[in-house]
């Protein structure tokens, strides 16, 4: 696998066109560019679930996509890519299309709503059937396209329009569903969590996910300034703070083994991540609620380290 420097990344991002209508500071255009850069060794076909990304990148008659791209519906990116992948195989087998110049890779992309919630079944089915595809989740922790509603990815105590910070209930009352682990337990060829701030790590994860034959999954944290109530110029920094506070750990799952890719040297309290965000404003003066979020982080981190502690024979 080729290690890519920043210059190569820029050259390889295959012309994901400017002029798309993502908000200033939206993190996912960077994620797309990194994905396309990682995928430049292949011919990619993309199936995109309904959501912000689909909406802002393809307003008829324009398209920002430099590769074949298909949108079907909200909850079926996993099934759509299954059909595309098998169609390619069938048509190739029957000589109805020519071999592409590069190896062809199939990618499905969905937001957290289209992945954790309404599209989970289709994704689960596609992984179980063993289709050859990479699923990229861009997780902005809410249904942003419909105006910032809660999803099962929305963190504990976050304010959204359907988990509002009220006078009685302080935002969302449940922690995030641990989707990457749920996906890992399908035993795909590869599963990982990445962050755009750690571009080197993220590009490598995309490369790995594309390289394997069979299902792969990469979850990426994706800042949404209007949804999170954050300054537009802080988007990448926030995805760094999320990792430094271990709110969004970077890790991989391969062949039954877990690897934490980044362990912060010093403890950074979650407050450092929360304090920039309007969606947590209502708890900033309530240390007991912040502590609940911190406790959740410690619990998950411990579990992750425990999972990682099981080493392969040769590493023992």
């Amino acid at each position: 696998m080729q290690r890519l420097n920043l210059k190569q990344l820029a050259e390889r991002s295959q012309g994901f066109a400017p002029g798309h209508r993502a908000c200033a500071g939206c993190a996912f255009p960077s994620i797309i560019r990194m994905l396309l850069a990682a995928g430049a060794d292949y011919d990619l076909v993309i199936a995109n679930a309904t959501g912000c990304m689909e909406v802002v990148t393809t307003i008829m008659p324009y398209s920002a996509w430099p590769v074949p791209w298909v949108h079907n519906a909200f909850e079926n990116a996993g099934a759509t890519i299954s059909g595309i992948e098998r169609a390619y195989k069938a048509l190739l087998k029957r000589g109805k299309i020519k071999n592409a110049k590069k190896p062809v890779k199939f990618v499905a992309i969905g937001g957290d709503g289209g992945t954790y919630d309404i599209g989970l079944q289709a994704l689960s089915g596609a992984i179980e059937r063993g289709h050859d595809f990479l699923y990229v989740l861009y997780d902005n922790e809410g249904y942003m396209n419909t105006g910032i509603q809660r999803s099962s990815a929305t963190p504990l105590h976050a304010h959204t329009t359907t988990s509002p910070a009220g006078t009685v209930i302080p935002g969302k009352q449940q922690p995030r569903k641990d989707l990457t682990k749920i996906i890992a337990m399908h035993r795909p060829r590869y599963a990982a969590q990445g962050s755009p701030a750690f571009w080197n790590d993220l590009v490598k994860k995309f490369q790995k996910g594309l390289e394997v034959d069979g299902p792969a999954f990469v979850a990426v944290l994706s800042t949404c300034p209007p949804g999170w109530g954050t300054p537009e110029n802080m988007s990448i920094e926030l995805t760094k703070l999320a990792v430094e506070t271990r709110f969004w750990p970077l890790y991989e799952y391969e062949d039954g083994y877990w690897k934490v890719n980044y362990k912060p040297r010093k403890f950074v309290p979650v407050e450092e991540f929360l304090k920039h965000q309007g969606r947590f404003k209502h708890i900033m003066k309530r240390p007991e609620l912040i502590k609940e979020i911190q406790d959740e982080i410690e619990k998950n981190w411990k579990e992750l380290l425990w999972l990682e502690s099981r080493k392969k024979e040769e590493e023992k």
């Binding site: 076909v45 008829m60 430099p66 098998r86 069938a90 048509l91 079944q121 089915g125 059937r129």
Partner: protein, 395 residues
């Protein structure tokens, strides 16, 4: 093959359908089991497992994913088929509109079954009548033989107009009953359907396409207008392809409607699917008694054959329309409403009444058929009848 020489096979409706699928050997099939269509998928899986077809079969985790995967595969340029019933079709509802809107010629078998609640696995037309406005061509077949030939024609029709098509057979009554089916040799089927010519090549990486973008006020309407143009055009294409099929093979499958003893009829009944067979027998008996009664069977209801309905029913004194489905509008069954609409500007508009029958698989028997005919006769003779009546139910 010599015209009119068929390979006779004893097959149930499901077997006939699956056999046609085998001969079609689609590129991709994605499907999920549900009674009474399950067998189609089972039989087809066996063809795949035994190498009798080299189709890519996707055993999905739901009907929603079945049609979603079909959409993906069809966008990819593949010839794609699926099959379902009832709840499965209802679960696909969202994607039916997408398949049509993206102009994908997917062909789907529907073994008609009623919808829950109460849950019931038997046949009526509630499922596909709920898909009337989804943009699919709808073909209701009368028996297994017709189902077999209809699937083959449906592939050609769908791929000519770039619209999806569903081919219906009555759940259990046709799907599970054995009949003699006049099949064609494999190569004849292959030759007739030819190859799908997709509108674009998704896998042309030098010229990447974007399929299914957000399409707002400034273009959506034009795209819908084009889709409607395809449905208008389908009328002509269906007539041509059906004629070509019958001319080539010596079959006599009607295109949109089948008139039965209508020439001098004073009153008539309109019906779909297997109920037409029962009615034909009873009509024969009534004819022997000197009654001038006939039948118009609607075979294709999307696009709706309003010209044919007008042509055959205008001038008839009284007409009764049979519906194996409700609209819950209190305005009568779906076909009653559509036949009425088609006849509104007929020169000699008949008196019309409707009948809802056979819900949840209730047998439509000779007694009910006799009741229906005598009520239509009463209507002809000047008796007032309600907007529509329920037949064969305990009130």
């Amino acid at each position: 093959m010599e015209k009119g020489t068929f390979i006779k096979m004893a097959l149930t409706g499901n077997e006939a359908y699956a056999y046609a699928m085998k001969q079609i050997n689609p590129d991709v099939v994605a499907a999920y089991p549900i009674t009474p269509a399950t067998e189609i998928v089972q039989i087809f899986s066996k063809y795949v497992a035994n190498g009798e077809v080299d189709t890519e079969f996707i055993p999905v985790e739901s009907e929603h994913s079945a049609l979603s995967a079909c959409v993906g595969a069809s966008v990819g340029g593949a010839r794609v088929m699926t099959g379902t019933s009832s709840q499965g079709l209802a679960l696909m509802h969202e994607i039916q509109y997408i398949a049509a809107g993206l102009r994908l010629p997917i062909v789907m078998a529907v073994a008609n079954r009623t919808l829950s609640a109460p849950i019931n696995i038997h046949g009526d037309h509630s499922d596909t009548m709920g898909s009337r406005d989804s943009g699919w061509i709808q073909i209701y077949t009368e028996n297994a033989n017709e189902a077999y030939h209809s699937v083959i024609m449906a592939i050609k029709i769908a791929e000519t107009v770039n619209l999806p098509a569903m081919v219906m057979l009555d759940g259990f009554i046709i799907s599970h009953e054995m009949e003699v089916v006049n099949t064609l040799p494999d190569e004849e089927v292959k030759k007739f359907i030819g190859e799908r010519k997709p509108l674009y090549n998704l896998f042309d990486f030098e010229n990447p396409v974007t399929v299914g973008p957000l399409d707002l006020q400034d273009y959506y309407f034009e795209h819908k207008r084009q889709q409607m143009e395809a449905m208008f055009n389908a009328k002509k294409v269906i007539l041509e392809i059906t004629k070509k099929y019958n001319d080539t093979f010596g079959t006599d499958i009607p295109a949109f409607v089948e008139p039965y003893r209508l020439d001098d009829a004073e009153y008539a009944v309109v019906a779909l699917s297997s109920a037409a067979s029962t009615l034909k027998e009873i009509i024969d008996e009534w004819r022997e008694k000197g009654e001038k009664v006939g039948l118009l069977r609607l075979r294709i209801t999307r696009p709706f054959p309003y010209e044919e309905v007008k042509k055959y029913l205008s001038g008839i004194k009284a007409v009764g329309v049979m519906d194996r489905a409700e609209t819950h509008s209190t305005l009568g069954g779906p076909m009653l409403q559509e036949v009425k609409a088609a006849l509104y500007d007929a020169e000699k508009r008949p008196k019309i009444t409707g009948f809802v029958f056979g819900l949840g698989g209730r047998d439509f028997d000779d007694e009910q058929a006799n009741t229906v005919l005598s009520m239509i006769k009463d209507l002809k003779d000047g008796k007032e009848l309600p907007l529509y009546s329920f037949i064969g139910v305990r009130e």
